[in-house]
Amino acid sequence: MFYKWTKNILLTTFALAVLVPSSIVVLGSFKKDVEIYTKPLALPKSWSLDNFRNLIHTGNVFTPFKNSVIVAVFSVFFTLLFASLAAYAISRMTTVTGRVLFILFSLGLAIPGQVNIIPIYHLFVKLHLTNSLLGLILVNIALTLPISIFILTSFFKDIPREMYEVAGIDGAGHLRIYRSIALPLSRPAMGATGIFLFVICWNDLLYPLMLITQLDKKTLPLTLIDFRGEFATSYSMLFTAIMVASIPMVVMYIAMQRTFVAGLTAGAVKG
């Protein structure tokens, strides 16, 4: 009895701890500031879209939104492409090279990507890659390659050797085997990894903060940070901006829950 009660109370508390702040944000995006401060959890007096209109009008969220989409989509695409190629090679190579490559990329797992901010910054200044979406994409690819290769290698290793050999007999090259056998088989793993990478790229702050200063190149997390900048603004606008920034993730989460959970936990389990 006691166990059951404790269990239910604890479970409810944590569920509320997640739901209450989320509701405050969602409801707040329809409210005026005064309402947010006094009754954060009440339904808005009227479901007004003024905040969204204001945000579009003044905050210019379209550009950062577009930038975030460009950076995330290209980063994920190229990381998956490069990582799957490398992972396939590693999983198929029984030679020393395979081992060496694997250890090389494992090094990247041990060193947090954040420690490279200074050399990356100076390198990018030299290459004129600051204030460039391409620069952000390159950094994202480099930072997420190790973990992606790690996840995908373990997946490719699980593909039974016979499946490759069937194709190999026909004299197919590696690239063809990769394309016609490994790639189709690995679709679920690629999807999960892709989501995992998308969340990382979509939400990253540190590198954009350092590399992007130009208004028209800012990504969403940077724009959110600007909201709390030297020239202050209001919580109603802030919550509205948070809503806009989170919508793609929430939609993807609802639509592809399983892949999502698989992706975000694969990163942990494999890494």
Partner: protein
């Protein structure tokens, strides 16, 4: 447990609702100021309101009998009657600046300039401020077509001056006669003017003039009065100073006011700041301890809201806009934040001087300017002619007014009519006071010195022990400078 929670939570809400209802009632008592036509010597109602920055402007002031009347405003002066814009030669030049937010206003102005000077074209080249700091010098020095450009006060202006890129504008009549002379300092080297500081900010506390009038409060003008004011206002249930101590950038604005009267003269102040900035002196010096003690005194007097170190610059303007705070100590740039939060605050915001001495103050306010307009000394004579004409065009009152109202900022040009923006109008009388260029920015070591220094003052303003905090932070600064 849950029901009890709900009742007291709703009780809490009820209290807040009442407070806001009262604030709303208060805002419906509209100020009669706008309706009465200001006339010299005629009675007025709201102290400090002025009609602009021309030689004929009036300001609402107490006369010798203690009555509020319209008086001649003591404004910044030019050296003569303003002149019309110069005519430009035909040709095309580039205008380099770092204000993407001003792009549209500048384009409107450029279109008018081009209409007045057929055959002349000006193209805006806009970088964001971060890039401008790093790259502008290299780009402009290699590009004579960049005939007119802006620089930032201090380091960048000096960099361009040392590079011989700034044309001497001292002899130009529009510089002498159209620009408020006291505003020229950041663009001056020795006795020569190399640039026109165009936009003016005032990093002085904003106050709710209507609330002051309703409660019969007067703006404190000495340190003792300030502390007494805090006690009185706090007792009335209002936050005296909505100081956003949790956000360093804006929390540091009042440091300007604390610095401005902390030394016998500007040279002493400058050298004291330099001494701390370079590690020759530390925060435990008598001078700085005195400043820190004043932060403590303000906290002791109840000037700040409870838990002020958790009070962010999102909350502070909201409290000020909702009528829960009397003063929002940041600067003119905070006015639009406040009026966006509560449009009925329009016309009720004024600027005050935060005086931290009981003797006659050396300075009565803080100013800063965002950019300085200059002509490229390496451009061709024809392009320089266009550039000069363009600056002279910007220095005429109607155009400066267009810019001021379009960007909601004051400009350093004489005779600008701010009546299209009542908040600019109401705060423009600050230009007549004795102002100091924001001294906070004299600290060059932002990361190593200014940030820990301001953090220490924030902690002390929040109730931390003065001696211990200053000693600890001095150590941090010393070790940081040595690294």
């Amino acid at each position: 447990m849950k029901t009890k929670g709900r009742t007291s939570l709703s009780a809490l809400r009820m209290g807040a609702v009442t407070a806001i209802a009262m604030a709303l009632v208060a805002t419906t008592i509209t100020s009669t100021q706008a309706a009465a036509t200001p006339k010299f010597g005629v009675a007025c109602t709201t102290e400090g309101v002025s009609t602009g920055t021309s030689t004929t402007s009036l300001v609402c002031q107490k006369n010798s009998a203690g009555k509020l009347v319209w008086a001649n405003v003591r404004l910044g002066q030019s050296t003569g009657k303003p002149v019309a814009a110069l005519t430009a030669a035909a040709g095309t030049i580039e205008f380099h600046h770092f204000r993407p937010e001003d792009k549209a206003v500048f384009q409107t102005i450029i279109d008018r300039f081009q209409a007045a000077n057929p055959g002349t074209h000006i193209n805006q080249v806009i970088m964001n401020s971060g890039d401008y700091t790093n790259l502008a010098y290299a780009r402009i020095s290699a590009n004579p077509k960049a005939a007119v450009f802006v620089t930032v006060r201090g380091g960048q202006f000096a960099q361009f001056y040392n590079g011989g890129l700034l044309k001497d504008l001292s002899a130009e009549r529009f510089v002498k006669q159209n620009v408020i002379q006291s505003a020229l300092t950041p663009g001056t080297v020795g006795d020569k003017v190399y640039g026109v500081p165009y936009q003016s900010l005032f990093n002085d506390p904003l106050y709710n003039a209507e609330m002051f009038a309703k409660n019969g409060w007067t703006v404190p003008t000495t340190w003792t009065q300030t502390l007494a004011f805090c006690k009185k206002v706090k007792a009335a249930g209002i936050i005296p100073f909505a100081w956003p101590a949790a956000t360093r950038g804006n929390a540091g604005q009042i440091l300007n006011s604390f610095l401005m009267n902390s030394a016998p003269d500007l040279a002493t102040l400058t050298s004291r700041i330099a001494a701390i900035d370079t590690g020759k002196a530390d925060l435990t010096s008598d001078w700085f301890t005195d400043i820190a003690n004043k932060y403590k005194a303000m906290n002791d007097a109840g000037c700040f809201p409870p838990n002020v170190t958790g009070y962010t610059d999102v909350v502070a303007p909201a409290d000020f806009a909702a009528g829960k705070a009397a003063i929002y100590p940041t600067g003119t740039f905070g006015m639009s934040t406040v009026t966006n939060l509560n449009p009925s605050m329009k016309g009720k915001i004024k600027l005050m001087s935060l005086i931290t001495v009981d003797t006659k103050p050396l300075y009565e306010g803080i100013t800063n300017n965002t950019f300085i307009l200059s002509v490229n000394a390496k451009s061709s004579a024809r392009d320089q002619n266009i550039a000069r004409a363009f600056i002279s065009f910007l220095a005429t009152a109607p155009i400066a007014q267009l810019y001021a109202v379009g960007t909601s900022q004051h400009v350093s040009i004489i005779n600008v009519d701010y009546s299209a923006n009542i908040d600019l109008l109401n705060t423009s009388d600050i230009m007549g006071k004795k102002l100091l260029l924001a001294p906070r920015f004299l600290f060059n070591n932002v990361g190593t010195v200014r940030n820990p220094l301001e953090d220490a003052l924030i902690a002390i303003g929040g109730g931390a022990d003065v001696t211990k905090t200053l000693a600890d932070s001095s150590k941090t600064i010393k070790q940081g400078l040595g690294a």
